[in-house]
Symmetry: C2
Subunit: 302 residues, 2 copies
């Protein structure tokens, strides 16, 4: 177990924690309460050079611009149509710096792309995307961009009576079709951002109304909403995961917080942008930091 992890402080901390909570004694945690939550983008799979879901949506914008040429002069359809990834990346980057001038039309287009699609059609479109799409620089399908050591960790925890959930800022209905094949996590244990759904003619449809952004303080809210228990294990990689880790740390039971550090330009990417505060909290509060470079023998497996 955890063979893809280097013997070192991160692996030791995980093994020690799991040993303590599964052994009779003061730190024992009953199996029902062994709930583990995992962020997805940057924690279970690669989030660079852009969110996988953004790639899916850009292709959707391009289809829309194909059908309706008038869109080609308007952002973000213009960027999608001309392949201007810099504009798209800039819109997200500027958003995190407090400038939503490009993010606002991007968000509006994302929501509009969800207007009235049945949940079955939506899942089929996503499955089709994942069959064809490849990561732009890693040269492998997105479905092979999950981190092998994290999949090992999911299985290790499950082998010790934990139940694992994804709690991601990404779209819940975008992750569900691949969470089973990639991570062994079924749709009912995927929590994420959502548009509102509507019932019509014996079917459920997506809408263009944003329902919930599952990020930052939304994460503990949404995970309580879905699970009704406070987790004892949480893994994330960015500032958007702070509240989820903090909520887990405030459990009356022993708990472990894990932060993935992207420091491996050779095998993945090297960045701390968007994770500065989380890393500071980890240093202050005893959260475990797993360095991709030092703690993982492999990133994506064979």
């Amino acid at each position: 177990m955890l063979d893809t992890w280097t013997n070192g402080p991160a692996k030791s901390a995980i093994v020690d924690f799991v040993g303590r909570v599964t052994t009779e004694g003061p730190d024992y945690v009953e199996p029902d309460a062994r709930v583990a939550v995992f962020d997805n983008d940057g924690t279970l799979w690669c989030e660079k050079p852009m969110y996988v879901q953004l790639d899916f949506l850009i292709r959707r914008f391009r289809e829309q611009a194909e059908t309706d040429p008038a869109l080609r002069d308007t952002q973000p359809y213009k960027a999608a149509w001309t392949g201007d990834l810099a504009w798209l990346g800039g819109a997200v980057a500027k958003h995190y710096q407090g400038d939503d001038s490009d993010f606002a039309p991007l968000t509006a287009a994302i929501l509009a792309a969800h207007q009235e699609i049945s949940v079955d059609e939506h899942a089929a479109a996503i499955a089709e995307f994942f069959e064809a799409a490849r990561h732009p620089t890693l040269g492998r399908p997105y479905t092979e961009c999950g981190y092998s050591p994290m999949v090992d960790l999911l299985r290790y925890l499950e082998g010790h009576g934990f139940t694992c959930y994804i709690v991601s800022g990404g779209g819940r209905d975008f992750m569900r079709p691949i969470s089973g094949p990639m991570y062994g996590i079924p749709p009912e244990r995927v929590v994420g951002s959502t548009v509102s759904l509507v019932y019509r003619d014996a079917n459920v449809y997506t809408t263009a109304d944003l329902q919930f952004v599952d990020d930052g303080p939304g994460k503990p809210v949404r995970l309580w909403d879905r699970i009704g228990r406070r987790p004892v294990f949480a893994a994330g990689n960015s500032n958007g995961d702070i509240e989820m880790l903090e909520f887990t740390a405030s459990s009356a039971r022993p708990s472990l917080q894990l932060l993935i550090l992207h420091d491996d330009a050779e095998r993945e990417f090297d960045y701390t942008s968007g994770a500065e505060t989380a890393l500071q909290r980890a240093a202050n509060d005893g959260w475990i930091v797993a360095s991709i470079k030092n703690d993982w023998k492999t990133v994506f497996g064979a």
Copy 2:
């Protein structure tokens, strides 16, 4: 199995369905897709003479009127304070006839009662209520007002690889503390109506904002939201369950719809009010109707 059910058409239909979907052949359903959803009030436990949650809330209103005497002149606190159950029952009954003149202040008071309670305190208050409260006419604790044949059915389905969920118009956070002990259903498989939650100081709090009414067309929306699969088995007892049963019936897989008929004044209650349309749909669409009088050997067990 199903020993509390009389040998008859309802039990036969259930046993036949479960046999078909668990046997290799054209009707086989893989275990992952064996999702069963159950309404709670009137389907898993007694909903008369009033919803159990309303009893809980009336006690809360009485506490509030105790603390703040000014409330005693205002509905619904006045009714709670004076024990005027007729006013409270009337408010709900008039709502179902399209008159919200009393239901509106009742709803406002229900929401106000949820202002800023931590989810742990909320669960503790509910657990305390269930320790003391007894059903007003059946002379037993509410926790013994679950229907034994339905608990048998939950275990029967689970024994055949089904995963069972509660999908109720009742408050999710009201049901969660007792769904385990009463039905063997853990909190993460309880879906219901909710107030919005908020994160503050490493904890999650209820608010006075209504988030979702899990009734009628809200039921398939909410169950998809939570489960991400279309159920193949659904049980309900009222018009508020129609869309959930209809959504299940539209599955590409074999499915079964079960409607509980309250026709046993001696052992429980005899009423069809609020279920007229559902019973008509059952007759038209081949939904199975289980008569409490004829199909259940016992209602509440020993």
